[in-house]
């Protein structure tokens, strides 16, 4: 059974696109047939993160409007034969998306893939609501900051009311993915703690991705971090998250900073 998973957050810049690419690549590496769909019409990025920007011919909007066939718009990854991309249009805006159009594309993709990862745009408008509309599961990407957590809370409320599943009285399975977790700042009490985030969102945790230069480096070379440097800390955290998505029980590792002598002498500062 194909699963439609939306990667969403409400707030921008928290790592939705990076996470979509990393999760998609990790799933594909495990032998799953994966398509990542960019819903950020007008501000597309997923093609860059996947290094497919020079091969885009047709896009999501062309398929929605019937200009191109789905098979013409799908781009196969050069490194992973199980990973495909359906890019967004850069020249249009989100109003070009229709509920019926998206619905028929998702239904079509369900017959071809095991996982359909929808990379949601920021915000709560048309692009974001249509990205989550047909989702079976949701990954809510959250940074350990109050603004990001509050926006995530808002998005969870929408997942529980605006999706097809919710309207049928079913539940969209939701997971929180904490990204850009800075263990040094956490130890100084400068960020919201994991416990606080989970207490506010009341949603199970999928993984904690540490803040790392590896993520930036991978984006710059157009490669998902799980593919670019699978041994790096963020890649391992994404791979663990994917194993949890697949139903495995994997112990949660909270990234910790090795305390220096000065830190140890100064002790922890309370929040």
């Amino acid at each position: 059974m194909a699963k439609v998973l939306v990667v969403t957050s409400g707030k921008g810049g928290v790592g939705k696109t990076t996470s979509t690419a990393a999760l998609g690549a990790a799933l594909a590496q495990m032998g799953e047939r994966v398509v990542v769909v960019d819903f950020d019409v007008g501000l597309r990025n997923l093609d860059l993160v996947l290094g497919a920007e020079r091969r885009v011919v047709f896009d999501l909007i062309n398929v929605v409007q019937g200009v191109a066939k789905l098979s013409q718009a799908l781009i196969r990854d050069k490194r992973l034969e199980n990973l495909w991309l359906l890019p967004a249009s850069q020249t249009r805006d989100k109003d070009a998306l229709t509920e019926e159009g998206v619905g028929s594309i998702i239904a079509d993709l369900r017959t071809k893939f095991d996982w359909i990862l929808c990379d949601s745009p920021a915000g709560i408008e048309r692009g974001a609501t249509l990205a989550m509309r047909y989702a079976d599961e949701a990954v809510i990407v959250t940074n350990p900051e109050v603004s990001s957590v509050r926006d995530s809370d808002r998005i969870i409320g929408m997942l529980d009311s605006k999706t097809v599943k919710a309207e049928r009285g079913e539940r969209v399975e939701k997971h929180v993915l904490i990204t850009r977790y800075d263990s040094a700042r956490a130890s100084r009490g400068e960020m919201l703690s994991i416990e606080d985030i989970l207490e506010i969102l009341a949603t199970p945790l999928l993984g904690i991705i540490p803040e790392s230069q590896d993520v930036l480096r991978a984006s710059n070379v157009g490669s998902p971090v799980t593919l670019n440097n699978a041994a790096s800390a963020p890649a391992r955290a994404y791979i663990d998250a994917v194993r949890r998505l697949m139903g495995e029980t994997v112990t949660m590792m909270v990234p910790v900073e090795r305390k220096g002598l000065m830190n140890r002498l100064l002790g922890r500062r309370a929040a």
């Binding site: 509050r150 926006d151 809370d153 808002r154 969870i156 409320g157 529980d160 207490e199 506010i200």
Partner: protein, 230 residues
């Protein structure tokens, strides 16, 4: 004395008694008249169930088989005919209800089937999941109970009191219809705004020592009091 012999010699006593029964006066065509009955039954099914019904056939001229057919047609509609009136004795067979005579008119108390009473409107609202940021719950008819937290940027508006079995991080407005006796209770107070009957306090006004503790808010005259709950 033989007890069993004594009991067999009991007398059979007969008594006369009169009852009120519905009287049906079928008209021709019988098919059309039956449709009328069906329409009545559609409006209130079970209206004739268990009620004594007498057929007055004086207005129509029916053959024996037609009478038998009419009785079975009524039986199919769950209407049992107690007796027949207004026909010759010869036309009634033994398998039909008995012939009745000497019926007198009486006023029939119209027993309308009681309409199901409109359920009283619920005076409380129970929310079993957390109220998320951006959600607004408005219930002016009474109390609101939340089994979970109320997120920052969410709001609860209630005509009565508000009970939150979680952390209140958003806004809670109780007693909006002028109910100054309404209160706000929560397991952990981190509210952005509390209001009762129009009197309000924002997060800045709420005493910092109360933060993260169970608390209640209530009106003392025109002053909102927030006190810990233990």
């Amino acid at each position: 004395m033989d007890v069993s012999a004594a009991s067999t010699r009991q007398l059979v006593r007969m008594r006369g008694r009169s009852y009120v029964a519905f009287v049906f006066c079928p008209t021709v065509p019988i098919v059309g008249w039956l449709e009328e009955i069906d329409a009545t039954l559609a409006r209130s099914p079970g209206f004739f169930v268990g009620k004594p019904v007498v057929l007055d056939l004086s207005a129509v001229d029916l053959s024996q088989s037609a009478i038998a057919h009419l009785v079975t047609s009524l039986k199919q509609r769950n209407i049992r005919v107690l007796g027949i009136e207004g026909v010759d004795a010869a036309q009634v067979t033994t398998s039909m209800p008995p012939l009745l005579t000497g019926g007198r008119h009486c006023v029939l108390a119209q027993v309308e089937p009681r309409k199901p009473e409109a359920k009283p409107k619920p005076t409380s609202l129970l929310l079993e999941s957390p109220v998320r940021s951006g959600q607004s719950v408005v219930f002016t008819e009474g109390d609101v109970t939340v089994l979970g937290s109320v997120g920052s940027g969410a709001e609860i508006v209630a005509g009565g009191s508000i009970h939150i079995y979680g952390t209140l991080r958003g806004r809670a407005m109780a007693g909006v219809n002028g109910n100054s006796a309404a209160r706000i209770y929560c397991q952990k107070i981190e509210a952005e705004l509390l209001a009762i009957d129009g009197y309000y306090q924002t997060a800045e006004d709420i005493n910092a020592t109360l933060r993260n503790r169970p608390a209640q808010a209530w009106l003392d005259g025109e002053i909102m009091k927030i006190t810990p709950l233990n």
